[in-house]
Amino acid sequence: MDMNKETEANNNFFIYEVFSQKSVNASFVHQFSLLAPNKEVALAMARENFLRRESCFNIWVVKRDDIYSLSPEERPFLERIDNKSYRETKGYGDLQARWRYHREQYEAKQKQAESGS
């Protein structure tokens, strides 16, 4: 979709993208889009069009024209090389074993001291 051009439809109604939040701890999730003449009407219709059964804590409507996004050609650049273990927990799998080693060393020393006294 061309985000730069005014996306007009149906008597110049605009396309609004609808986002919703399931609960206070949840993030907003994109639902779908609808046609509306303005943001108030878009918001007034949003829940019934996309959330007739799900519970809903909050809703946003955003005019599609106001969304700036990557072009199809740019999207593949989002891919990353899988070499970033240093910033993920899986890069630190050795820690537990090392802590255990220190605890065991300590406990062994304690035992020795007890039996020695």
Partner: protein, 322 residues
Amino acid sequence: MQTQLERSNLTENEKMEAFLARIDRGEKIEADDWMPDDYRNQLIKLISMHGISEIMGALPEKEWVPKAPTLRRKLAIMAKVQDEMGHGQLLLRVAEDLLAPLGKTREDLMQDLFAKRLKFHNVFHMEAPTWADAGVIGWLVDGAAIITQSMSLDTSYAPYARALHRICAEEKFHAQHGESIVLELAEGTEEQRKMLQEAITRWWPSLLMFFGPPENGTITSNQSTNMRYKIRTQTNEELRQAFLKKYLPRIFHLGFTVPDDTIYFDEAKDQWVYQQPDWEAFKEIVKGNGPRSAHRLNLRETSYTETKWVRDAIMAYGRHVG
């Protein structure tokens, strides 16, 4: 951007090759991706017809909304028809985004519908004279729709797939809604059973027609385009057989019949052998010459035309506040 320039320097042939390679890899196409014209046109045809069928499909059942026989049924059928309108909304949005580069909007789709250029499913041109018809629509027409829609869940066009996922989740409720009405009638009085049998008999040819004419070994260019682009993956006859396998036994289990004396299941071929409906009549029906076509088109056109002032008004308000 450098890369964008490089890409746009690709020849049409190269773009086409890259596109087909994406389809073959099972990738999904988005609305703003490059796509060949026949892919776009095929999608527009399929999805706008699907969408407008949902909108027109609300009308035969709508006849029974105020009349539904209990408070619970009144609420359930209202919710169901509302969902159909909602499905129409989703699908029309997908079609509108495909039409946007051609400078067309929902308004054009509506005008195409009124001029009979945009067709809708044969079943929604038919009469629904009793409450049992509402049940049969919910049970068997929605059952047929679930089979075609589920088949398209894996479509190569991502926005259509996303709409279908939402739709199929709700169709499960619709089928249960229909089954519930039908079972109540089937387990009910003589009169209720008679009403249901008549509705099944009345809807039988339309249900067979729902999936379109059989291929008989020859596949139309539309179908082969659809299959090449992975828009859909099964033939009309495969879908119809899936429907018959699922629903015919259930009709028989309830002690009802279909108006086909010679119908039988061919074990060797693993398919139902049935009498063909009148395919010439089918062509006339989808052209807009079915028993209720004019009435329903009139209902939609009148309401749409007479409420133009409303759309104009809220649009005018929109100009002040944005």
